[in-house]
């Protein structure tokens, strides 16, 4: 630290000179003045850190000097030199901010002590200034950092692909990024800090409920993403996905934030995908149909050739054989048409009181002969628990007939001629009171690929003999009856199909109005 500069003011020249000399010896730089006015002039020019001033001086006294200097630089240390009987002015001087006083005649020790104190004060003040300065710098730095971060966050929020909107605790908007503006269909200035704007003006009822409930429950995690549709003030629907959370500070809600994803493009793509899949399905349908119809035509053509031969050669056996081929293929056309009509029409099940076990028995009676001629054993196990129920008997009949026919084909198709083929048909009620019908065969089974394509249209493993509609129709019928169909299969070992249908006994059903409201 540089030596302190001391200004000495006294009207007695000898004292000034004496003090100046003794202080110089102690290593101080001194400047002098012989009256108050001159003192102020010198002070302004030299800017000393410490001022020693006599209190009693003509014209401008020490108190006056003190006042003026403090006005110029309040940090200057001013030591008052007092004589006898100056107690009052000394007190005034101290009140005005003098740092110390020494009595006349000035003693070296007293002066040294006073100067040391003044220097210590200056030093302390210097340190303090440094600290304060640093502190200010630090604060400035921190402020900059916070600003930088907040700018960064602002930028992040602004440039986010998701819409982001935040509210205060009264659900009034405080943040709304450009993507959110787009989704809301209003400008930032129309949303943020607007008196009449709150979440209810923009969010859907469900969204408002989700946020308010979360706030009520003190939920401190993101809301589950949900899909909904926002309607802007000009009536535009925007499909969106939203999430969000309630914001807390010290367990108190301070606001909410919502995130939005605009699903317009995704929805459009989804629609296009569905359309193109539909078109592909139409193509498949047409080619599948063409193939199947071609096979029927082959049969009809072959049949008519055989009939022609029978006619020209007058052979009754040929007439019979050919005619039966033709009739069979006419049957196939009419089945196909029937299937296509069923497939293309929405059909409501026609519920009536019927006995599921009875229908199962009927179906078995129908196929028993065919099974016998092909050495396939049919076993049935019907649960006596199952009573008359309100169901659509046609649905059960058709679905079951289809599954049993498939099971027989699976047996006939099995390359393993050693097997004793067997089809088991079982009925039961499961724990959730669903009617279960199982059709199990020990035929060829199927591989994974076949299993995957099983319920798709015009997929057939039966070459030209299947329409590829059977299982598809079965599934449709079962689903229209609010039921499910499932499969378990093992290549080479066999397949089990299980149908589950809602089962309501006739007695219960009759207590209800005839037409059940399903909603």
């Amino acid at each position: 630290m540089t030596a302190n500069k001391i200004l000495i003011i006294d009207d007695e020249e000898s004292i000034v000179k004496f003090l100046a000399m003794s202080l110089k010896v102690d290593g101080y730089e001194t400047v002098t003045a012989y009256n108050g006015k001159e003192g102020i002039e010198v002070f302004k020019k030299e800017q000393p850190n410490i001022v020693l001033t006599d209190i009693k001086m003509p014209e401008m006294d020490g108190l006056q000097v003190l006042r003026e200097i403090k006005m110029i630089d309040p940090e200057t240390e001013i030591i008052i030199i007092t004589g006898h009987g100056d107690i009052d002015s000394t007190i005034t001087a101290l009140q005005l901010g003098a740092s110390d006083f020494i009595n006349k005649p000035v003693k070296d020790e007293a002066l040294a002590i006073a100067l040391k104190r003044a220097e210590a004060k200056i030093f302390m003040r210097g340190q303090l200034n440094e600290y304060t300065g640093n502190l200010e710098d630090k604060i400035e730095e921190a402020t900059q950092e916070i600003k930088r971060r907040s700018n960064f966050q602002k930028l992040l929020i602004r440039s986010s692909n998701d819409g982001i909107a935040a509210t205060d605790k009264n659900w009034k908007f405080v943040i709304c990024n450009p993507e959110a503006e787009k989704i809301f269909g209003c400008k930032y200035s129309e949303v943020v800090n607007k008196k009449n704007m709150n979440i209810e003006s923009i969010y859907t009822k469900d969204m408002v409920k989700a946020f308010k409930n979360a706030a009520k429950d003190g939920q401190d995690e993101n809301l589950e993403w949900k899909e909904t549709s926002l309607i802007s003030k000009d009536g535009k629907h925007t499909p969106i996905k939203f999430s969000g959370r309630i914001l807390y500070q010290h367990d108190k809600m301070i606001g909410s934030v919502a995130f939005f994803q605009d699903l317009t493009d995704i929805k459009r793509l989804e629609k296009e995908l569905v359309e193109s899949e539909k078109m592909a399905a139409v193509g498949q349908t047409v080619s599948g149909l063409a193939h199947y119809i071609k096979n029927i035509l082959i049969g009809l053509k072959g049949g008519s050739y055989v009939v022609d031969v029978g006619l020209s050669k007058n052979k009754t056996d040929k007439l019979i054989a050919g005619w039966s081929t033709i009739k069979k293929n006419i049957g196939r056309v009419s089945d196909l048409v029937q299937d296509l009509i069923t497939y293309s029409k929405e059909r409501e099940p026609e519920y009536q009181t019927c006995s599921p076990n009875g229908i199962v028995t009927e179906v078995i009676d129908l196929i028993e002969d065919f099974a016998k001629t092909n050495n396939i054993k049919i076993a049935k196990k019907l649960s006596p628990e199952i009573k008359e129920a309100s169901m659509d008997p046609q649905t059960i009949h058709r679905a079951l007939l289809n599954l049993v026919t498939n099971a027989m084909d699976a047996c006939l198709d099995d390359a393993n001629a050693e097997k004793d083929f067997k089809i088991s048909i079982r009925t039961s009620l499961d724990s959730s009171n669903l009617l279960c019908i199982e059709v199990e065969d020990n035929g060829s089974g199927m591989n994974e690929d076949t299993q995957k394509k099983l319920f798709s249209s015009f997929f057939s493993t039966k070459g030209g003999k299947g329409t590829g509609l059977g299982l598809l129709l079965t599934k449709k019928l079962i689903e229209e009856h609010k039921g499910t169909i499932s499969i378990e299969t093992n290549l080479g070992k066999g397949t089990t199909f299980t149908i589950k249908l809602p089962y309501e006994t006739a007695a219960i059903k009759s207590q209800k109005p005839a037409k059940e409201d399903l909603s």
Binding site: I298, G302, Y305, L412, D414, A417
Partner: protein, 130 residues
């Protein structure tokens, strides 16, 4: 002497038709319902020619064809494939089997896709037999 032709097809309508065509053209038809029965009839009846379907239960036409063409005593019997399956698919599956079994089989003498005209079939049979 009239030639014996074995018709291997699981579809009764196709059998009736082919048998009638054969009878009308002075061949002696024999029938088999599937691949297994087909092989048995070939051995028992020693036909002069075989018409063979591809998609059949119990021993497909693909397998029976291989058996006929890889058996020294049977490989000279001409075979006409008569099927709804495209020749390409048939040859592809034969190629796969050839690679798998390490034994090549020649392409069939005739490969007719259903529906087949009676004249077309008779023509193919006569060409194969000469």
């Amino acid at each position: 002497m009239n030639k014996k032709v074995l018709v291997v097809d699981d579809d009764p309508d196709v059998r009736t038709f082919i048998v009638t065509v054969l009878e009308e053209n002075d061949f002696i038809p024999i029938v088999a319902h599937d691949g297994v029965e087909g092989l048995q009839k070939v051995i028992e009846e020693k036909p002069d020619l075989v018409t063979l379907d591809v998609l059949m239960p119990r021993g497909s036409g693909i397998r029976l064809y291989r058996k006929l063409k890889t058996d020294l005593s049977l490989k000279n019997i001409p075979v006409i494939m008569l099927t709804g399956i495209a020749l390409k698919s048939f040859m592809r599956s034969q190629k796969t089997l050839s690679e798998f079994q390490g034994e090549k089989v020649p392409a069939p003498d005739f490969y007719l896709e259903k529906p087949v005209e009676p004249e077309e079939l008779v023509d193919a049979i006569e060409k194969s037999l000469n």
